[in-house]
């Protein structure tokens, strides 16, 4: 926890210093990049739990428990988005451009309004789903953390109708899945695609949320592997569970590459300058092409070839390394999408310590949120499956 706080402090300090006395544009652009990246991790990881509940999966018990802990980042992410309002001058290049009629959609009040509303909706559904799920988890395993025991005491005083709770949990789970697709698409269009306001891609939204699932599952594998390997808790994941989540991660590696390719091939065939300019600038012209190839090899080619192997997916240590590498790659990919819009005519890739430092600060925030969640609900690490059969019987 102390380390997480130290990371937050360091990242925050560097961000403030750079934003105030150094290069405010650069600081805010790094902020946007990391906001998008770390929010996507949290949203994608929580998606795992909602998804597994919705499809009535029975294999994913301990992984779902860990996935839910990322929901603790939701309030933080919402506050971070509000703070982004202060840096609007630096992160929306279209503010200073003639938009040829697009200003009806692309103006600051409407954009912030709809994105804030969307995020509130998404996080609201996520937390509502979690609340209902915690009821069944805590009823089964008891609660020793302060917030957990408060919740349990409340439920003991006013016992809710379990059948209604179970059916509502499913409804909120499905709503979260739907909101995930819609809101992440919106955020992708508004905060990433619109940085180049004259370029558009209808698939960009879907690409954004598939990417979020990809890194969300990656983060889930990393966290559950670390908890599994650590001796300081009773958390345990079976080998075949690691194998299955590894397969899912592998599958989303393919889906991510497929969504990129599905868009790329259409633009390649059409060969319309207003569409190709964006792609050429990022994948074929120096200096960004180096970054594009790094991302392609690091996030698709290498993991694809490595993850073909069955045994490696069951090894938490190896998977941690692979997932961290892939997530670093996707972080670079975020930078690749945003960077050229902010740095026209760059001679070399302007990636440096500012982006990394702000990223470390955000990593600290995510870590602090997850750790404090486990402090409130330590029983989530004590194994035992949520009695899914029971939930289903109640539900049916």
């Amino acid at each position: 926890m102390k380390i997480a706080y130290a990371l937050i402090a360091a990242g925050f300090l560097i961000f403030i210093v750079v934003a105030l006395v150094g290069n405010p544009a650069r600081a805010w652009q790094a902020y946007l990049l990391n906001f998008l990246f770390f929010s996507a991790i949290a949203q994608g990881a929580v998606l795992f739990s909602a998804l597994m509940h919705t499809v009535k999966a029975r294999w994913s018990g301990p992984l779902s428990d860990v996935a839910e802990s990322f929901a603790a980042f939701f309030p933080v992410s919402l506050i971070l988005f509000v703070i982004l309002f202060l840096g609007q001058q630096h992160v929306f290049p279209w503010l200073h451009e003639d938009l040829h009629g697009k200003e009806v959609w692309l103006n600051v009040p409407f954009m912030f309004g709809r994105d804030l509303f969307g995020l509130c909706l998404l996080y609201g559904f996520g937390l509502a789903f979690l609340y209902h799920r915690l009821y069944f988890t805590l009823k089964d395993r008891g609660a020793s953390g302060p917030f957990g025991s408060w919740l349990l005491a409340r439920w003991d005083q006013h016992p809710p109708d379990e059948a209604r709770l179970a059916s509502r949990m499913t409804v909120f789970g499905i709503l979260y899945l739907l909101a995930f697709a819609l809101v992440l698409s919106l955020v992708g269009y508004d905060l990433v695609m619109a940085t180049d306001p004259h370029w558009y891609s209808t698939l960009f939204g879907a690409y954004t949320f598939v990417k979020a699932i990809f890194i969300g599952f990656g983060a889930l594998i990393v966290l559950s592997s670390l908890l599994h390997l650590s001796d300081r808790n009773g958390y345990h994941v079976e080998e075949n569970q690691f194998h299955d989540i590894g397969k899912l991660f592998f599958a989303f590696c393919l889906v991510w590459a497929d969504f990129f390719y599905a868009q790329f091939v259409v633009i390649w065939y059409g060969n319309i300058p207003e569409e190709t300019a964006y792609v050429i600038e990022r994948t074929m012209a120096a200096p960004w092409n180096v970054l594009a190839w790094t991302v392609f090899i690091g996030c698709f080619l290498a993991p694809f070839l490595i993850l073909l192997n069955r045994r490696i997916k069951t090894r938490p240590k190896a998977m941690t390394v692979i997932c961290l590498a892939v997530m670093t790659g996707i972080w670079l990919e975020h930078y690749l999408l945003l960077g050229p819009a902010f740095h026209h005519d760059a001679q070399s890739i302007p990636l440096g310590w500012v982006e990394a430092a702000v990223g470390i600060g955000f990593l600290g925030l995510l870590a602090a949120a997850v750790i404090s969640y486990f402090q409130q609900f330590p029983e989530l690490l004590h194994g035992g499956d949520v009695n899914r059969l029971k939930v289903e019987t109640i539900h049916n």
């Binding site: 390719y261 790329f264 091939v265 390649w268 065939y269 060969n271 073909l308 069955r310």
Partner: protein, 171 residues
């Protein structure tokens, strides 16, 4: 079959009793010759611990052949009539990657099926000895071999593990 050994088929009516009998058999000196199951069973697979299947290699080789085959097919057919359309190269990498990909899937499937057939030594026209028709319905069979003087012991072993016994070789 060597003359001084006999094979005995134990017929079990549940997956778990068959699996636990296999577990115990593996601790003895007797060898398991065959196991029949009406369903694909992970429990029995875990008990038997068979060597890793080689079918995956067939799939991989099929996939690799398919990728390059599909790509070459697209390149070959285009080069038959080198027509430049829309300023695109005749041998274009971007769209033919899709052809390559589709052929990867197709040939990986072919490889997989071939691997399955060859590794499972199909087709089999002869019914294996000691086979009981109920193995295709609701019974599990474990065929074990022991030396002739241990026949009673093995029979007793099967019976204590809850099996019926079938020793008469129908073929």
């Amino acid at each position: 079959m060597p003359a001084d050994t006999v094979s005995i088929m134990g017929i079990f009516d549940s997956e778990n009793s068959a699996a636990s009998a296999i577990d115990r058999l593996r601790e003895t000196a007797w060898t398991i010759e065959q196991v029949h199951s009406p369903i694909p069973s992970h429990t029995i697979e875990d008990a038997l611990e068979p060597p890793t299947s080689r079918v995956g290699w067939f799939t991989l080789v099929g996939g690799i052949i398919g990728f390059f085959g599909g790509f070459s097919l697209a390149a070959f057919t285009s080069l038959r009539w080198s027509l430049i359309v829309g300023g695109k190269p005749v041998v274009a990498l971007v769209p033919w990657f899709i052809v390559g990909f589709e052929f990867t899937v197709l040939f990986a499937v072919f490889g997989n099926v071939l691997g399955l057939i060859s590794q499972a030594r199909l087709p089999r026209f002869e019914t294996p000895p000691y086979y009981d028709e109920r193995f295709s319905a609701d019974r599990f069979g474990v065929l074990a071999r022991c030396s002739a003087d241990e026949q009673d012991e093995l029979t007793r072993f099967f019976e204590t593990n809850g099996a019926e016994i079938n020793t008469d070789d129908k073929l």
